[in-house]
Symmetry: C4
Subunit: 122 residues, 4 copies
Protein backbone atom coordinates (compact mmCIF):
# COMPACT_ATOMS: atom_id res chain seq x y z
CA UNK A 1 0.00 0.00 0.00
CA UNK A 2 2.76 2.44 -0.98
CA UNK A 3 1.96 6.15 -1.10
CA UNK A 4 0.12 8.92 0.67
CA UNK A 5 -3.45 10.22 0.63
CA UNK A 6 -2.88 13.98 0.25
CA UNK A 7 -0.71 15.59 -2.38
CA UNK A 8 -0.01 19.18 -3.42
CA UNK A 9 1.42 20.51 -6.68
CA UNK A 10 2.17 24.14 -5.81
CA UNK A 11 3.25 25.06 -9.35
CA UNK A 12 0.56 25.13 -12.03
CA UNK A 13 0.43 26.90 -15.39
CA UNK A 14 -0.88 25.65 -18.72
CA UNK A 15 0.99 27.54 -21.44
CA UNK A 16 -1.31 29.00 -24.12
CA UNK A 17 -0.56 27.03 -27.29
CA UNK A 18 -1.77 26.31 -30.81
CA UNK A 19 -4.80 23.98 -30.45
CA UNK A 20 -4.12 22.37 -33.84
CA UNK A 21 -0.96 20.63 -32.55
CA UNK A 22 -1.04 16.86 -32.02
CA UNK A 23 -1.94 15.70 -28.50
CA UNK A 24 1.55 14.46 -27.60
CA UNK A 25 3.26 17.75 -28.54
CA UNK A 26 0.80 20.45 -27.44
CA UNK A 27 1.69 22.24 -24.19
CA UNK A 28 0.16 20.42 -21.27
CA UNK A 29 0.41 19.92 -17.53
CA UNK A 30 0.00 16.49 -16.00
CA UNK A 31 -0.50 14.89 -12.60
CA UNK A 32 0.80 11.32 -12.89
CA UNK A 33 -1.05 9.25 -10.30
CA UNK A 34 -0.01 5.68 -9.46
CA UNK A 35 -2.48 3.51 -7.59
CA UNK A 36 -0.45 0.40 -6.73
CA UNK A 37 -3.10 -0.86 -4.31
CA UNK A 38 -5.68 -3.60 -5.00
CA UNK A 39 -8.55 -1.08 -4.49
CA UNK A 40 -9.93 1.60 -6.81
CA UNK A 41 -8.78 5.13 -5.84
CA UNK A 42 -11.27 7.99 -5.72
CA UNK A 43 -9.34 11.23 -6.07
CA UNK A 44 -10.80 14.65 -5.34
CA UNK A 45 -8.92 17.60 -6.87
CA UNK A 46 -9.17 21.25 -5.80
CA UNK A 47 -7.59 24.03 -7.88
CA UNK A 48 -6.36 27.19 -6.11
CA UNK A 49 -5.82 30.52 -7.85
CA UNK A 50 -4.12 33.83 -7.03
CA UNK A 51 -7.18 36.03 -6.95
CA UNK A 52 -10.40 34.03 -6.87
CA UNK A 53 -11.99 31.24 -4.88
CA UNK A 54 -10.85 27.66 -5.48
CA UNK A 55 -12.41 25.57 -8.27
CA UNK A 56 -13.65 22.03 -7.84
CA UNK A 57 -13.91 19.48 -6.63
CA UNK A 58 -12.92 17.55 -9.73
CA UNK A 59 -13.51 13.82 -9.22
CA UNK A 60 -11.38 11.19 -10.92
CA UNK A 61 -10.94 7.47 -10.33
CA UNK A 62 -7.80 5.41 -10.78
CA UNK A 63 -8.47 1.66 -11.03
CA UNK A 64 -6.57 -0.79 -8.82
CA UNK A 65 -2.99 -1.39 -10.01
CA UNK A 66 -3.24 1.23 -12.72
CA UNK A 67 -1.66 4.62 -13.46
CA UNK A 68 -3.47 7.74 -14.62
CA UNK A 69 -1.51 10.51 -16.33
CA UNK A 70 -4.15 13.18 -15.84
CA UNK A 71 -3.88 16.30 -17.96
CA UNK A 72 -5.18 19.40 -16.23
CA UNK A 73 -6.04 20.62 -19.74
CA UNK A 74 -8.70 17.87 -19.88
CA UNK A 75 -10.55 18.81 -16.68
CA UNK A 76 -14.00 20.16 -17.66
CA UNK A 77 -16.34 19.57 -14.73
CA UNK A 78 -17.22 21.77 -12.89
CA UNK A 79 -15.18 24.18 -15.08
CA UNK A 80 -12.12 24.27 -17.35
CA UNK A 81 -8.82 25.61 -16.05
CA UNK A 82 -7.87 28.83 -17.86
CA UNK A 83 -4.66 28.84 -19.93
CA UNK A 84 -1.83 31.20 -19.04
CA UNK A 85 -2.99 31.46 -15.42
CA UNK A 86 -1.11 30.64 -12.19
CA UNK A 87 -2.70 27.89 -10.10
CA UNK A 88 -1.92 25.17 -7.53
CA UNK A 89 -3.63 21.83 -6.99
CA UNK A 90 -4.55 19.66 -4.00
CA UNK A 91 -5.27 15.96 -4.61
CA UNK A 92 -7.01 13.90 -1.91
CA UNK A 93 -7.40 10.14 -2.36
CA UNK A 94 -9.19 7.49 -0.30
CA UNK A 95 -6.32 5.01 -0.78
CA UNK A 96 -2.56 5.68 -0.84
CA UNK A 97 -1.28 6.89 -4.21
CA UNK A 98 1.88 8.55 -5.53
CA UNK A 99 1.72 11.82 -7.52
CA UNK A 100 4.35 13.32 -9.83
CA UNK A 101 3.97 16.61 -11.71
CA UNK A 102 5.12 17.14 -15.32
CA UNK A 103 4.77 20.00 -17.79
CA UNK A 104 5.61 20.05 -21.47
CA UNK A 105 5.95 23.60 -22.74
CA UNK A 106 5.77 23.51 -26.54
CA UNK A 107 5.41 27.22 -27.22
CA UNK A 108 8.89 27.60 -28.72
CA UNK A 109 10.03 25.58 -31.73
CA UNK A 110 11.57 23.07 -29.31
CA UNK A 111 9.96 21.62 -26.22
CA UNK A 112 10.88 22.33 -22.62
CA UNK A 113 10.09 19.85 -19.85
CA UNK A 114 9.85 19.99 -16.08
CA UNK A 115 8.93 17.34 -13.52
CA UNK A 116 8.94 16.87 -9.77
CA UNK A 117 7.53 14.61 -7.14
CA UNK A 118 4.56 16.36 -5.56
CA UNK A 119 4.39 17.16 -1.82
CA UNK A 120 2.71 14.27 0.00
CA UNK A 121 1.23 13.86 3.48
CA UNK A 122 -0.48 11.17 5.55
CA UNK B 1 -3.80 22.30 7.10
CA UNK B 2 -1.47 20.60 4.61
CA UNK B 3 2.13 21.74 4.36
CA UNK B 4 5.13 22.82 6.40
CA UNK B 5 6.30 26.12 7.90
CA UNK B 6 9.94 26.18 6.77
CA UNK B 7 11.13 25.68 3.22
CA UNK B 8 14.50 25.93 1.50
CA UNK B 9 15.29 26.35 -2.19
CA UNK B 10 19.03 25.66 -2.30
CA UNK B 11 19.36 26.48 -6.02
CA UNK B 12 18.90 30.08 -7.07
CA UNK B 13 20.06 31.94 -10.17
CA UNK B 14 18.22 34.52 -12.26
CA UNK B 15 19.64 34.36 -15.78
CA UNK B 16 20.55 37.78 -17.19
CA UNK B 17 18.09 38.40 -20.03
CA UNK B 18 16.74 41.02 -22.41
CA UNK B 19 14.43 43.28 -20.32
CA UNK B 20 12.27 44.09 -23.37
CA UNK B 21 10.87 40.53 -23.51
CA UNK B 22 7.25 39.96 -22.49
CA UNK B 23 6.69 38.98 -18.85
CA UNK B 24 5.73 35.36 -19.56
CA UNK B 25 8.84 34.66 -21.65
CA UNK B 26 11.62 36.58 -19.90
CA UNK B 27 13.97 34.47 -17.76
CA UNK B 28 12.65 34.25 -14.24
CA UNK B 29 12.80 32.23 -11.05
CA UNK B 30 9.69 31.52 -9.05
CA UNK B 31 8.69 30.21 -5.63
CA UNK B 32 5.16 28.82 -6.02
CA UNK B 33 3.51 29.02 -2.58
CA UNK B 34 0.17 27.34 -1.88
CA UNK B 35 -1.71 28.40 1.24
CA UNK B 36 -4.56 25.88 1.44
CA UNK B 37 -5.45 26.94 4.97
CA UNK B 38 -8.34 29.24 6.00
CA UNK B 39 -5.85 31.79 7.47
CA UNK B 40 -3.64 34.37 5.73
CA UNK B 41 0.02 33.28 5.54
CA UNK B 42 2.80 35.70 6.44
CA UNK B 43 5.98 34.53 4.76
CA UNK B 44 9.43 35.83 5.62
CA UNK B 45 12.12 35.20 2.98
CA UNK B 46 15.89 35.31 3.53
CA UNK B 47 18.31 35.18 0.58
CA UNK B 48 21.76 33.60 1.08
CA UNK B 49 24.76 34.30 -1.15
CA UNK B 50 28.19 32.77 -1.71
CA UNK B 51 30.30 35.65 -0.49
CA UNK B 52 28.26 38.22 1.41
CA UNK B 53 25.81 38.40 4.29
CA UNK B 54 22.21 37.31 3.71
CA UNK B 55 19.63 39.75 2.32
CA UNK B 56 16.20 40.29 3.78
CA UNK B 57 13.87 39.67 5.32
CA UNK B 58 11.47 40.03 2.41
CA UNK B 59 7.88 39.93 3.66
CA UNK B 60 5.04 38.58 1.53
CA UNK B 61 1.50 37.53 2.37
CA UNK B 62 -0.53 34.76 0.76
CA UNK B 63 -4.26 35.06 1.39
CA UNK B 64 -6.27 32.12 2.73
CA UNK B 65 -6.97 29.46 0.05
CA UNK B 66 -4.85 31.22 -2.53
CA UNK B 67 -1.61 30.53 -4.40
CA UNK B 68 1.22 32.99 -4.97
CA UNK B 69 3.72 32.37 -7.78
CA UNK B 70 6.35 34.75 -6.45
CA UNK B 71 9.06 35.84 -8.87
CA UNK B 72 12.37 36.48 -7.18
CA UNK B 73 12.93 39.01 -9.99
CA UNK B 74 10.15 41.13 -8.45
CA UNK B 75 11.58 41.35 -4.92
CA UNK B 76 12.64 44.97 -4.29
CA UNK B 77 12.50 45.61 -0.56
CA UNK B 78 14.95 45.75 1.15
CA UNK B 79 17.01 45.24 -2.06
CA UNK B 80 16.78 43.62 -5.50
CA UNK B 81 18.43 40.25 -6.14
CA UNK B 82 21.29 40.61 -8.61
CA UNK B 83 21.04 38.76 -11.94
CA UNK B 84 23.58 36.09 -12.85
CA UNK B 85 24.43 35.46 -9.19
CA UNK B 86 24.25 32.21 -7.18
CA UNK B 87 21.87 32.33 -4.23
CA UNK B 88 19.63 30.16 -2.00
CA UNK B 89 16.40 31.07 -0.23
CA UNK B 90 14.75 30.24 3.09
CA UNK B 91 10.99 30.75 3.42
CA UNK B 92 9.38 30.82 6.88
CA UNK B 93 5.59 30.96 7.21
CA UNK B 94 3.30 31.29 10.22
CA UNK B 95 0.84 28.74 8.77
CA UNK B 96 1.59 25.55 6.82
CA UNK B 97 2.23 26.12 3.12
CA UNK B 98 3.74 24.14 0.24
CA UNK B 99 6.60 25.56 -1.86
CA UNK B 100 7.76 24.49 -5.34
CA UNK B 101 10.65 26.05 -7.24
CA UNK B 102 10.58 26.77 -10.98
CA UNK B 103 12.97 28.54 -13.37
CA UNK B 104 12.39 29.53 -16.96
CA UNK B 105 15.68 30.19 -18.74
CA UNK B 106 14.95 32.11 -21.91
CA UNK B 107 18.48 33.14 -22.86
CA UNK B 108 18.65 30.82 -25.87
CA UNK B 109 16.17 31.03 -28.74
CA UNK B 110 14.18 28.27 -27.03
CA UNK B 111 13.25 28.09 -23.39
CA UNK B 112 14.56 25.67 -20.80
CA UNK B 113 12.60 24.82 -17.66
CA UNK B 114 13.37 23.27 -14.32
CA UNK B 115 11.20 22.62 -11.30
CA UNK B 116 11.37 20.80 -7.98
CA UNK B 117 9.56 20.59 -4.71
CA UNK B 118 11.49 22.62 -2.14
CA UNK B 119 12.90 21.11 1.06
CA UNK B 120 10.31 21.42 3.85
CA UNK B 121 10.49 21.06 7.62
CA UNK B 122 8.14 21.30 10.63
CA UNK C 1 23.11 2.36 4.90
CA UNK C 2 21.49 5.44 3.37
CA UNK C 3 18.27 5.09 1.40
CA UNK C 4 14.93 3.32 1.32
CA UNK C 5 13.72 -0.06 0.06
CA UNK C 6 10.63 0.96 -1.92
CA UNK C 7 10.53 3.65 -4.59
CA UNK C 8 7.89 4.85 -7.03
CA UNK C 9 8.32 6.85 -10.24
CA UNK C 10 4.74 7.85 -11.05
CA UNK C 11 5.65 9.50 -14.36
CA UNK C 12 6.78 7.23 -17.17
CA UNK C 13 6.83 7.77 -20.94
CA UNK C 14 9.49 6.81 -23.48
CA UNK C 15 9.20 9.24 -26.39
CA UNK C 16 9.14 7.50 -29.79
CA UNK C 17 12.41 8.46 -31.49
CA UNK C 18 14.70 7.69 -34.40
CA UNK C 19 16.48 4.39 -33.54
CA UNK C 20 19.54 5.37 -35.60
CA UNK C 21 20.52 8.11 -33.13
CA UNK C 22 23.59 7.57 -30.92
CA UNK C 23 22.89 6.07 -27.49
CA UNK C 24 23.62 9.24 -25.51
CA UNK C 25 21.24 11.41 -27.59
CA UNK C 26 18.28 9.12 -28.31
CA UNK C 27 15.18 9.74 -26.18
CA UNK C 28 15.34 7.64 -23.06
CA UNK C 29 14.00 7.30 -19.55
CA UNK C 30 16.26 6.33 -16.70
CA UNK C 31 16.03 5.19 -13.07
CA UNK C 32 19.33 6.13 -11.45
CA UNK C 33 19.86 3.73 -8.55
CA UNK C 34 22.62 4.26 -5.99
CA UNK C 35 23.57 1.34 -3.76
CA UNK C 36 25.94 2.89 -1.21
CA UNK C 37 25.81 -0.20 1.01
CA UNK C 38 28.47 -2.94 1.25
CA UNK C 39 25.95 -5.56 0.01
CA UNK C 40 24.65 -6.30 -3.49
CA UNK C 41 21.13 -4.93 -4.08
CA UNK C 42 18.50 -7.10 -5.75
CA UNK C 43 15.87 -4.81 -7.25
CA UNK C 44 12.49 -6.00 -8.46
CA UNK C 45 10.69 -3.61 -10.84
CA UNK C 46 6.97 -3.62 -11.65
CA UNK C 47 5.56 -1.47 -14.47
CA UNK C 48 1.99 -0.18 -14.21
CA UNK C 49 -0.10 0.95 -17.18
CA UNK C 50 -3.35 2.87 -17.71
CA UNK C 51 -5.40 0.07 -19.19
CA UNK C 52 -3.77 -3.32 -18.75
CA UNK C 53 -2.32 -5.47 -15.98
CA UNK C 54 1.14 -4.63 -14.66
CA UNK C 55 4.26 -6.01 -16.37
CA UNK C 56 7.13 -7.67 -14.57
CA UNK C 57 8.79 -8.36 -12.35
CA UNK C 58 11.99 -7.15 -13.97
CA UNK C 59 14.99 -8.21 -11.91
CA UNK C 60 18.18 -6.14 -11.78
CA UNK C 61 21.16 -6.19 -9.46
CA UNK C 62 23.28 -3.26 -8.34
CA UNK C 63 26.66 -4.28 -6.91
CA UNK C 64 27.82 -2.98 -3.53
CA UNK C 65 29.01 0.66 -3.68
CA UNK C 66 27.99 1.05 -7.30
CA UNK C 67 25.42 3.09 -9.23
CA UNK C 68 23.19 1.79 -12.01
CA UNK C 69 21.61 4.25 -14.45
CA UNK C 70 18.98 1.85 -15.73
CA UNK C 71 17.26 2.75 -18.98
CA UNK C 72 13.68 1.57 -19.14
CA UNK C 73 14.27 1.33 -22.90
CA UNK C 74 16.66 -1.56 -22.20
CA UNK C 75 14.26 -3.73 -20.18
CA UNK C 76 13.46 -6.84 -22.25
CA UNK C 77 12.52 -9.64 -19.87
CA UNK C 78 9.67 -10.50 -19.42
CA UNK C 79 8.66 -7.93 -22.10
CA UNK C 80 9.76 -4.60 -23.58
CA UNK C 81 8.04 -1.38 -22.51
CA UNK C 82 6.12 0.14 -25.42
CA UNK C 83 7.19 3.60 -26.66
CA UNK C 84 4.77 6.51 -26.50
CA UNK C 85 2.76 4.89 -23.68
CA UNK C 86 2.00 6.20 -20.18
CA UNK C 87 3.36 4.06 -17.36
CA UNK C 88 4.56 4.17 -13.73
CA UNK C 89 7.18 2.06 -11.99
CA UNK C 90 7.63 0.51 -8.55
CA UNK C 91 11.14 -0.50 -7.48
CA UNK C 92 11.62 -2.81 -4.48
CA UNK C 93 15.12 -3.52 -3.17
CA UNK C 94 16.40 -5.86 -0.46
CA UNK C 95 18.89 -3.24 0.78
CA UNK C 96 18.43 0.55 1.06
CA UNK C 97 19.02 2.40 -2.20
CA UNK C 98 18.27 5.88 -3.59
CA UNK C 99 16.36 6.35 -6.86
CA UNK C 100 16.21 9.40 -9.10
CA UNK C 101 14.22 9.65 -12.34
CA UNK C 102 15.50 11.35 -15.52
CA UNK C 103 14.17 11.64 -19.06
CA UNK C 104 15.92 12.98 -22.13
CA UNK C 105 13.42 13.88 -24.83
CA UNK C 106 15.29 14.22 -28.11
CA UNK C 107 12.35 14.36 -30.49
CA UNK C 108 12.84 18.03 -31.36
CA UNK C 109 16.09 19.37 -32.83
CA UNK C 110 17.17 20.27 -29.30
CA UNK C 111 16.92 18.10 -26.23
CA UNK C 112 14.61 18.58 -23.26
CA UNK C 113 15.43 17.14 -19.84
CA UNK C 114 13.51 16.41 -16.68
CA UNK C 115 14.57 14.86 -13.40
CA UNK C 116 13.19 14.31 -9.92
CA UNK C 117 13.90 12.32 -6.84
CA UNK C 118 11.50 9.35 -6.79
CA UNK C 119 9.03 8.74 -3.94
CA UNK C 120 10.66 6.53 -1.30
CA UNK C 121 9.30 4.54 1.65
CA UNK C 122 10.61 2.28 4.41
CA UNK D 1 19.29 24.66 12.01
CA UNK D 2 17.26 23.60 8.96
CA UNK D 3 18.44 20.68 6.86
CA UNK D 4 19.95 17.20 7.05
CA UNK D 5 23.47 15.84 7.33
CA UNK D 6 23.44 13.16 4.59
CA UNK D 7 22.36 13.74 1.02
CA UNK D 8 22.41 11.61 -2.12
CA UNK D 9 22.19 12.69 -5.76
CA UNK D 10 21.60 9.39 -7.55
CA UNK D 11 21.76 10.92 -11.04
CA UNK D 12 25.12 12.18 -12.22
CA UNK D 13 26.45 12.82 -15.73
CA UNK D 14 28.58 15.68 -17.02
CA UNK D 15 27.85 16.06 -20.73
CA UNK D 16 31.00 16.28 -22.87
CA UNK D 17 31.06 19.83 -24.23
CA UNK D 18 33.18 22.43 -26.02
CA UNK D 19 35.70 23.71 -23.42
CA UNK D 20 35.90 27.11 -25.13
CA UNK D 21 32.34 28.02 -24.09
CA UNK D 22 31.85 30.67 -21.39
CA UNK D 23 31.51 29.36 -17.84
CA UNK D 24 27.80 30.13 -17.47
CA UNK D 25 26.83 28.31 -20.69
CA UNK D 26 29.10 25.26 -20.77
CA UNK D 27 27.46 21.97 -19.75
CA UNK D 28 27.83 21.47 -16.04
CA UNK D 29 26.39 19.63 -13.07
CA UNK D 30 25.95 21.36 -9.74
CA UNK D 31 25.21 20.50 -6.11
CA UNK D 32 23.69 23.63 -4.56
CA UNK D 33 24.43 23.48 -0.83
CA UNK D 34 22.82 25.90 1.61
CA UNK D 35 24.34 26.21 5.06
CA UNK D 36 21.82 28.36 6.96
CA UNK D 37 23.47 27.61 10.30
CA UNK D 38 25.83 29.89 12.24
CA UNK D 39 28.66 27.30 11.97
CA UNK D 40 30.94 26.44 9.05
CA UNK D 41 29.94 23.20 7.29
CA UNK D 42 32.57 20.60 6.40
CA UNK D 43 31.20 18.47 3.58
CA UNK D 44 32.73 15.18 2.51
CA UNK D 45 31.72 13.98 -0.99
CA UNK D 46 32.02 10.44 -2.34
CA UNK D 47 31.45 9.67 -6.03
CA UNK D 48 30.08 6.24 -7.03
CA UNK D 49 30.47 4.73 -10.47
CA UNK D 50 28.95 1.80 -12.39
CA UNK D 51 32.04 -0.31 -12.74
CA UNK D 52 34.85 0.86 -10.48
CA UNK D 53 35.46 1.70 -6.83
CA UNK D 54 34.19 5.02 -5.47
CA UNK D 55 36.29 8.18 -5.77
CA UNK D 56 36.96 10.56 -2.93
CA UNK D 57 36.58 11.84 -0.42
CA UNK D 58 36.37 15.34 -1.84
CA UNK D 59 36.38 17.90 0.97
CA UNK D 60 34.60 21.24 0.68
CA UNK D 61 33.61 23.84 3.23
CA UNK D 62 30.56 26.08 3.19
CA UNK D 63 30.86 29.11 5.49
CA UNK D 64 28.13 29.92 8.01
CA UNK D 65 25.05 31.49 6.40
CA UNK D 66 26.41 31.03 2.90
CA UNK D 67 25.48 28.99 -0.17
CA UNK D 68 27.87 27.04 -2.37
CA UNK D 69 26.84 26.09 -5.89
CA UNK D 70 29.47 23.42 -6.34
CA UNK D 71 30.22 22.29 -9.88
CA UNK D 72 31.23 18.64 -10.09
CA UNK D 73 33.25 19.74 -13.14
CA UNK D 74 35.50 21.68 -10.76
CA UNK D 75 36.39 18.80 -8.42
CA UNK D 76 40.08 17.96 -8.90
CA UNK D 77 41.37 16.42 -5.68
CA UNK D 78 41.85 13.46 -5.39
CA UNK D 79 40.85 13.10 -9.09
CA UNK D 80 38.65 14.74 -11.74
CA UNK D 81 35.27 13.24 -12.61
CA UNK D 82 35.27 11.92 -16.18
CA UNK D 83 32.87 13.51 -18.69
CA UNK D 84 30.16 11.41 -20.31
CA UNK D 85 30.19 8.89 -17.46
CA UNK D 86 27.35 7.77 -15.18
CA UNK D 87 27.91 8.49 -11.49
CA UNK D 88 26.11 9.19 -8.19
CA UNK D 89 27.21 11.29 -5.24
CA UNK D 90 26.92 11.10 -1.46
CA UNK D 91 27.40 14.30 0.56
CA UNK D 92 28.01 14.10 4.32
CA UNK D 93 28.11 17.30 6.40
CA UNK D 94 28.89 17.93 10.06
CA UNK D 95 26.06 20.49 10.34
CA UNK D 96 22.60 20.40 8.72
CA UNK D 97 22.53 21.63 5.13
CA UNK D 98 20.13 21.45 2.18
CA UNK D 99 21.23 20.08 -1.19
CA UNK D 100 19.62 20.56 -4.60
CA UNK D 101 20.90 19.08 -7.87
CA UNK D 102 20.97 20.97 -11.18
CA UNK D 103 22.36 20.17 -14.62
CA UNK D 104 22.70 22.46 -17.61
CA UNK D 105 23.12 20.47 -20.82
CA UNK D 106 24.46 22.80 -23.48
CA UNK D 107 25.40 20.27 -26.12
CA UNK D 108 22.61 21.27 -28.52
CA UNK D 109 22.24 24.82 -29.84
CA UNK D 110 19.78 25.48 -27.03
CA UNK D 111 20.21 24.57 -23.39
CA UNK D 112 18.30 21.94 -21.44
CA UNK D 113 17.94 22.12 -17.67
CA UNK D 114 17.01 19.70 -14.92
CA UNK D 115 16.84 20.13 -11.17
CA UNK D 116 15.63 18.23 -8.12
CA UNK D 117 15.93 18.29 -4.40
CA UNK D 118 18.43 15.60 -3.37
CA UNK D 119 17.54 12.70 -1.07
CA UNK D 120 18.25 13.70 2.55
CA UNK D 121 18.56 11.75 5.78
CA UNK D 122 19.28 12.42 9.46
Amino acid sequence: MIGKRKWVIAEGYIPPDDPSKPRDMISHETACILNATPREAHVRITIFFADRNPAGPYLVTVPAERTLHLRFNDLKDPETIPKGTDYSSLLESDVPVVVQHTRLDGRASNNALLSTIAYGEL
